[in-house]
């Protein structure tokens, strides 16, 4: 009996001991890591300070660190395969330079390339900056360009490059099976190459889709990797050799990405020591801006909820302004099950978009009908947006003979709270004029599946932001495999084709004006709002600021005020 009496105590004791052991081993770690960490950082600091030009100077007192808030976690640092993920693109822009960069006024700026020129809109001559070099000091040459293109266009390599307009690629934009050279690429010398397109294209298309989008691989690091090993090569998990103002320091998915200054940069070396891109929920953004844990939000995936507008405006340590109009949230109609343009127009008249802009967005958005944001040079400003007119909507419905009992499946993606709230208002608007709406909310993967299988009548989401107008219209092309709205109009197809190949800007304006006019009348899609996103930046950050386009153009000039 006595012996057994001890056992409960023994168990409790054991539990306590385990706990103690856990604590004390933690305690040891504490000693270890806090002991090691400063030493490590100190070592890093001295290493950083031991950079050639600063060798003589005593180490600066404090590291200059800026933290950028982002809501979605970057998926990958792979510079030739960003998976279409905006968060990944954000961090990649810190580590990589493209041939050209772009600013918010749609101007192209030289980066790795000194010039991109063409005489016939088909053969593009690119002259590289002869000073350009990788962060390990190796020169950047046309050999790297060739290696990158041959790797990324290899059918075995997954890449986000969309270059099927380049001569020598197939419809998928890959090298045809068995082909090991890109016929459209001609290397002239170490710093000059020519790229030929299948047909003449507008230089802006070339610049946007090639010169600003393509990042490069270091041939001297990856040249011995076979194509089928490239996707999973460890380099892409830890791309230490890149060519950009900053270089890889640490990537903790769902937590943060840490980049440090590239002391070998071929342009003026960055003034900041480090940048963190920190993943946090949108609701924490304002709080952390306030506490100084985060200095900037980022666009388009570090959006400050518009509901916090007043609060962030009131912060004493933060400057706030609004971006230009961004890619609109669009309602897409399944034109097979809603074939009558009158019904779609009735929907347009039923929507109180002004209310959404004024109340939900507190005026920080604008109403447009088409897909092209109003700051795009090819935006047709002669179109008058559909007004909120429920009576007209009802009249059009009666005229069209629409069966009001037939429910419309309205697919709404979850995740973007403001868009969900806007959709709730839209549903109310539509119900008010007599539509029967079957609201279905899904995660994006499920929604896309439903859309692809035509299990919907209308849905709402945002597309990407493009500079090149043709990118907004390929959705409406009859032959396009991704024309999920099943819209088809021969005249529209013709205009899309003309627009993509016309290089005279005045003629393009005429083409795109007509195209937008037709789409405005036939209404296969209608935009709901084009948000002017909040750009918040701590007052002690110099030069840097969240931007829709080219946020990191001058990131090497970013600095912190003393």
């Amino acid at each position: 009996m006595k012996r057994s009496l001890r056992i409960p105590h023994a168990i409790i004791l054991a539990c306590l001991l385990i706990l103690l052991a856990a604590c004390s081993s933690n305690g040891n770690n504490a000693g270890d890591s806090s002991g090691a960490a400063p030493a490590e950082t100190a070592a890093q600091e001295t290493a950083a300070k031991a950079a050639p030009e600063e060798a003589a100077e005593p180490p600066a007192a404090k590291e200059k660190v800026v933290t950028i808030g982002i809501v979605n976690s970057p998926i990958t640092l792979n510079q030739i395969n960003d998976q279409g993920d905006s968060a990944s693109k954000t961090v990649q822009a810190l580590l990589n330079d493209a041939l050209l960069d772009i600013n918010t006024s749609f101007e192209f700026l030289p980066k790795l390339a000194d010039s991109v020129e063409t005489a016939d809109n088909q053969t593009y001559v690119v002259k590289l900056n002869p000073a350009a070099k990788w962060n390990d000091g190796q020169p950047f040459t046309t050999a790297d360009v060739r290696f990158t293109l041959l790797s990324a266009l290899n059918p075995k390599v997954e890449s986000s490059f969309r270059l099927n307009f380049v001569e020598g690629t197939d419809d998928a934009g890959k090298l045809p099976e068995g082909q090991s050279e890109l016929t459209g690429l001609k290397v002239v010398d170490e710093h000059t190459f020519e790229l030929k397109t299948k047909t003449p294209i507008d230089p802006n298309i070339f610049k946007e889709t090639f010169a600003t989008k393509v990042y490069f691989l270091p041939e001297h690091v990856l040249k011995d990797v076979s194509a089928d090993q490239l996707n999973t090569h460890p380099y892409f998990q830890k791309p230490e050799v890149t060519i950009g103002p900053f270089q890889y320091a640490n990537f903790r998915k769902d937590q943060y990405t840490e980049v440090k200054r590239n002391d070998n940069y071929y342009r003026p070396v960055a003034k900041l020591d480090k940048i963190f891109v920190k993943v946090l929920p949108a609701t924490n953004l304002v709080a952390q801006l306030q506490t100084g844990d985060v200095q900037l939000n980022s666009l388009p995936v570090g959006l400050i909820p518009i509901t916090e507008y007043e609060k962030v405006k009131a912060l004493a340590n933060v400057n706030v302004d609004s971006s230009g109009p961004s890619e609109p949230a669009e309602i897409f109609f399944n034109t097979k099950s809603l074939p009558d343009a009158k019904v779609r127009q009735a929907i347009a008249y039923a929507l109180n978009r002004q209310l959404i802009v004024e109340q939900l967005f507190k005026g920080q958005a604008e109403v447009i009908d088409g897909s092209v944001p109003s700051d795009n040079p090819y935006y047709n400003d002669k179109l008058t947006p559909y007004t909120y007119d429920p009576d007209k909507a009802k009249a059009l419905l009666a005229e069209s003979g629409w069966d009001a009992k037939k429910p419309l499946r309205f697919l709404i993606p979850v995740g973007n709270k403001v868009r969900e709230q806007a959709a709730d208002i839209l549903v109310q608007n539509l119900t008010d004029v007599g539509f029967k709406i079957d609201v279905q909310k899904y995660d994006f993967g499920t929604l896309i599946d439903k859309v692809d299988n035509q299990q919907y009548e209308l849905t709402i989401f945002n597309r990407d932001y493009y500079i090149e107008p043709s990118n907004y219209f390929s959705l409406f092309e009859s032959g396009n495999g991704n024309n999920f709205i099943l819209y088809s109009n021969p005249r529209v197809d013709e205009l899309i084709h003309q627009g993509a190949t016309e290089s005279d800007s005045a003629k393009r304006h005429v083409i795109y004006d007509e195209l937008q006019q037709i789409l405005h009348d036939e209404l296969p899609t209608i935009s709901v709002y084009s948000e002017k996103r909040l750009q918040a930046v701590a007052k002690n950050v110099l030069v840097g600021k969240p931007l829709n386009l080219g946020m990191f153009n001058r990131v090497n000039e970013w600095d912190l005020a003393e």
């Binding site: 409960p8 279409g84 997954e158 769902d254 844990d293 993967g445 599946d449 396009n480």
Partner: protein
């Protein structure tokens, strides 16, 4: 005992296999696929088709499963569809934080629930008992996400005592004190749920035992009251308690998905959510496998603990 454990492990194998088949099936049943996550009309359909082919998504269900299994038998968990990172590495990186969170919550829960439950049972039908039972009722009923947001608002935003999320301060010293500070809020939330449920179990189990004859005998022969409750009664009451605490481990791992999201805790939960949303099949399968192994192991562990706590139980 050794042969019992060996036999149980052997039986676990077909169970594990069955679990993976069902998981694979359910994952495939979910609409959508990893390739067409974004509609971009500027992506040539041929490219989408090529990627599907490359990832083996066009093969019949059983072929896909068989390939996955073959790979697993060679000790390979494959590569994530979205980042091409090795899945084993992804999980290795995340399992530590999750276990830290879950076990801290379990131990904290145990340390609070056990004494309170005993106290409540000994003083049953007193005001103290009602108060504590009421409290445990509140703990069980409170949705954990709500509690999490409430605590965040109070301690992180208003009082600024604790960090809002994450596991370590960015660019900090990475020390344990820093991690502990980050641990307080998520552990508290998870522990409250554990405590709420377990107080009632401990109390009920103790009450059951307290009415046994042998306790009266013990008292009659002059054993002190403390010894009666803490040695004689507790030992016997421990049995069902071990079982429910064992069962709590899988529940904690599941429950931490939400808590990890709210507190940005870099654990398995966040990885799971991301993988579900991007239909990252290899990562999901590996996560399911890990979860299944954890559940089966804890079940086994509970059985073994039973034997240690109760000599009447003999495993043959």
């Amino acid at each position: 005992m050794v042969s019992f454990v060996a036999r149980r492990l052997l039986v676990s194998m077909p169970v594990l296999l069955g679990i993976t088949v069902i998981n694979f099936f359910i994952i495939k049943l979910a609409p959508g696929n990893p390739v067409e996550m974004f509609i971009n009309p500027n992506t040539p359909p041929e490219l989408i088709e090529a990627k599907k082919e490359m990832l083996g998504l066009n093969s019949p269900f059983f072929v896909q499963y068989w390939q996955w299994l073959l790979q697993l038998l060679q000790g390979e968990l494959g590569y994530s569809f979205s980042s091409y990172a090795p899945v084993a590495g992804l999980i290795q990186e995340r399992i530590g934080p999750t276990l830290l969170l879950a076990f801290s919550a379990l131990i904290a829960g145990l340390l609070v629930a056990l004494p309170i439950g005993i106290f409540s049972a000994v003083r049953h039908n007193t005001k103290w008992d009602y108060f504590l039972t009421g409290l445990s009722f509140v703990g069980t009923s409170l949705p954990s996400f709500f509690l999490a947001l409430g605590l965040l608002y109070l301690f992180a935003l208003k009082l600024r005592l604790l960090p809002t999320g994450g596991m370590q301060t960015l660019n900090g010293d990475g020390g344990v004190l820093d991690t502990l500070l980050h641990l307080i809020l998520p552990v508290s939330v998870l522990a409250v749920v554990v405590i709420g449920k377990k107080i009632r179990y401990v109390r009920a189990s103790m009450l059951d035992v307290l009415q046994q004859d042998y306790l009266r005998t013990a008292r009659a022969k002059g054993v002190r009251e403390f010894a009666v409750t803490h040695k004689h009664a507790l030992r016997n009451a421990l049995l069902p308690i071990i079982a429910v605490f064992g069962m709590e481990i899988p529940a904690l791992l599941g429950g931490s998905i939400i808590i990890e999201q709210i507190f940005q805790w870099p654990g398995i939960g966040q990885l799971t959510m991301q993988s579900i949303l991007s239909r990252d099949y290899p990562t999901l399968m590996a996560l399911n496998l890990v979860a299944a192994i954890v559940v089966l192991t804890t079940n086994l562990l509970v059985d073994v603990l039973y034997a240690l706590a109760d000599p009447r139980i003999k495993y043959r």
